[in-house]
């Protein structure tokens, strides 16, 4: 995307630069949208805060109610939305490209299910008095640790399998089977558990971006950045996957290594978000489609930044919507993401009549 002046540009080069340039306008629009949504997410909630109060709270060192709300609640929440939205959407894009399947999402490798299983185990068995689990479960980070642990186990399993299984479709099916198996164990645990534990688990599984502390956000930023950097470094091989294995090999792309990196990046992105926010559904599946319909390109050099910004925007928007009931009442995030996302995708698909990866 270099736009510098060059001597003697050919017709094609001009066309190429033009074609790159055509992404600047939507890019700027989307970024402005993101900034507005971010600010809106800081302003609206159970207590509305005015722009001036927000400015004072953020940049002046005075004691006020607004400052308390912004720094302890709204800002962490908005940042979590930003990180989780871009992480999940990027992971979704990676999976759709790797599996060349428009139905793939960040959870197809079974990471979210693994995380759910560990969280369920801790909530249901921990309260039931198993000592070791009980010790862990009183820790405030307990849910995040359990989720990371569950995600990591599945991740290692998938990485090992990915070394042996050369076929992407087989890997996809194994991921889906892991999901199915863990979900059924969770179902059994739910069936035998107490009502109050069930509610704790239900709340976790509906997704929540409001509960993250600054320490947790630090961890989240670190892991998500790592995942995103890996995904950006894999741009070339991601494009290669669109042509398929044979062409990629003949273009000198090491497909085995690239597959490992893509899986690793997805695991970091999905795993970290699931650990801190619960299994947030739909964003990872929908945003890559929305962005491809919006900018119509197959080049990951363009797709990746768009999907990150788009994902962050959609999750911020969903968070705003979830506050509609007012009085501190919140709609569950997972319900909102699907409620907002599904009609949006349907509308875009009908308008464009064609979907591809």
């Amino acid at each position: 995307m270099r736009l510098g002046k060059r001597p003697k540009e050919s017709t094609f080069q001009r066309f190429y630069i033009m074609s790159q340039f055509r992404f600047w306008k939507p890019g700027i629009i989307l970024t402005l949208l993101l900034i507005n949504l971010f600010i809106a997410d800081l302003l609206f909630g159970s207590v509305s805060i005015s722009i001036t109060d927000l400015y004072v709270a953020l940049f002046k060192n005075t004691d006020s109610n607004a400052r308390e709300i912004i720094w302890h609640f709204r800002l962490p929440k908005a940042l979590t939305c930003l990180l989780a939205g871009s992480a999940l959407s990027t992971a979704g894009l990676l999976m759709q490209t790797l599996f060349r399947n428009p139905l793939a999402g960040p959870d197809v490798l079974g990471l979210s299910s693994g995380a759910s299983l560990m969280v369920a185990l801790m909530i249901f068995l921990g309260q039931a008095g198993i000592t070791l689990l009980h010790i862990i479960s009183v820790n405030p980070w307990s849910l995040a640790i359990a989720a990371s642990f569950g995600g990591a186990i599945v991740f290692l399993l998938v990485i090992v399998l990915a070394q042996y299984i050369k076929d992407n479709t087989a890997l996809l099916i194994i991921g889906l089977m892991i999901s199915a198996a863990t979900s059924s164990i969770v179902a059994v645990l739910q069936y035998i558990s107490r009502a109050e534990d069930l509610q704790t688990f239900m709340i976790w599984s509906l997704g929540n971006v409001g509960g993250t502390s600054w320490r947790e956000i630090q961890v989240l930023i670190f892991v998500v950045l790592l995942g995103i950097i890996i995904s950006i470094r894999q741009m070339k091989s991601l494009n290669g996957w669109l042509l398929g294995e044979n062409y990629s090999k003949s273009l000198g792309i090491n497909i085995q290594r690239s597959r490992l990196w893509i899986v690793a990046s997805t695991a970091l992105l999905t795993g970290s978000v699931t650990a801190f926010c619960g299994p947030i559904a739909f964003v990872g599946l929908a945003v890559p489609h929305l962005m491809r319909l919006f900018i119509r390109t197959a080049n990951h050099k363009i797709q990746l930044p768009f999907v990150m910004i788009g994902g962050a925007s959609l999750l911020l928007f969903c968070d705003l919507i979830s506050q509609i009931p007012g009085n501190g009442q919140l709609l569950p995030l997972n319900a909102v993401t699907s409620m907002i996302g599904a009609p949006l995708v349907i509308w875009m698909v009908i308008r464009n009549k064609k979907v591809s990866i």
Binding site: S10, F12, F15, M235, N246, S250, G252, I253, R292, A298
Partner: protein, 312 residues
């Protein structure tokens, strides 16, 4: 450019080896266009992938450039319909690009030349789903050209195309081998085109070997008939054999193209055509336009003539 010695190709399923073609000693030279032919399922594509270094040979060795220096046009479906032709051709430069995919001035020149070479400049901004099969094939060839390799391997580049596109592609490959000095290997089912354009034909025979030779030799020594077991097609005349089921012979008088096509029409309809004898006599008259004379009647078209004949 590529030499193989005692090469066996095939695939391995659950540890058991299936050999498709064995003991191959092949030479692919610069400036040569070779057609690889054989019935379906004998291993044409497997041989192509093995030569390209995408698949391990079962035995023997291949001496040739590494896989980045062999450009491919395969039958693999491309899953992204949003891709533009320009993006597709850009892939040809990938072996020379870093992870951030930034194209240099030279890359741009090469991409442009490749697109111009196959005459699809007007399609550069089109998306792949907007292309016809023939245009898609041209774009794939442009992508292969952008890779700037001495060797080009193409798997069925003329499949599903109409005659015009088939001829265009074979002529393009012909000129690439002649003028750009590339070594080109094409698998194809198009017997007539292969016979007329290739320098050599590699024919996969029933005993898992490859018979090499210039097209005309293979026609005359009956190799093609043996491999393809033609049913009603006479390769030596290049025509479909017709059974003269009507048991009527016609003496046809005329010359040139009108004679050939009239003969074709009559034979196709089941008449035996002779030049010097026959129960019925048809003469062809060429003045301003062609007309046919039969039993003192004049006909303006062959269709009318055939109708009149069938009433006799």
């Amino acid at each position: 450019m590529i030499t193989t010695s005692h090469l066996s190709i095939g695939y391995v399923i659950n540890g058991s080896i299936h050999t498709l073609i064995e003991d191959l000693n092949l030479d692919l030279h610069a400036g040569e266009l070779i057609c690889l032919m054989g019935p379906n399922g004998v291993g044409k594509s497997t041989l192509l992938r093995t030569l390209a270094g995408l698949q391990q040979p079962i035995k023997g060795e291949i001496i040739g450039p590494d896989k980045k220096n062999i450009a491919l046009v395969l039958t693999d479906r491309i899953s992204s319909a949003n891709m533009t032709v320009f993006d597709l051709v850009t892939y040809g430069r990938y072996p020379y690009l870093g992870w951030n995919l930034s194209l240099s001035e030279t890359d741009h020149k090469i991409i442009e030349e490749s697109i111009r070479h196959v005459h699809i400049q007007h399609l550069a901004e089109k998306r792949l789903y907007e292309l016809s099969d023939g245009q898609m094939q041209m774009a794939m060839i442009a992508r292969a050209l952008a890779q700037q390799t001495p060797v080009l391997l193409l798997d069925e580049p003329t499949a599903h195309l109409d005659l015009n596109n088939r001829v265009e592609i074979m002529n393009l490959l012909r000129s690439l081998s002649r003028n750009a000095g590339k070594a080109i290997l094409v698998t194809t089912h198009e017997l007539d085109l292969a016979l007329q354009t290739s320098d050599q034909i590699w024919l996969i025979t029933a005993d898992k070997k490859i018979k090499k030779g210039i097209p005309e030799d293979l026609v005359l020594d009956g190799s093609f008939d043996e491999v393809f077991q033609f049913k009603g097609f006479d390769l030596k005349t290049g025509k479909v054999e017709h059974e003269s089921h009507r048991n009527k012979s016609i003496q046809l008088i005329g010359e040139g193209y009108p004679f050939l096509w009239t003969k074709n029409a009559l034979e196709r309809s089941g008449y035996a055509v002779e030049e010097d004898k026959g129960k019925m006599v048809i003469s062809i008259h060429v003045k301003n336009k062609i007309s046919w004379k039969f039993n003192d009647d004049q006909f303006e078209s062959l269709a009318d003539l055939l109708t009149a004949l069938s009433l006799k």
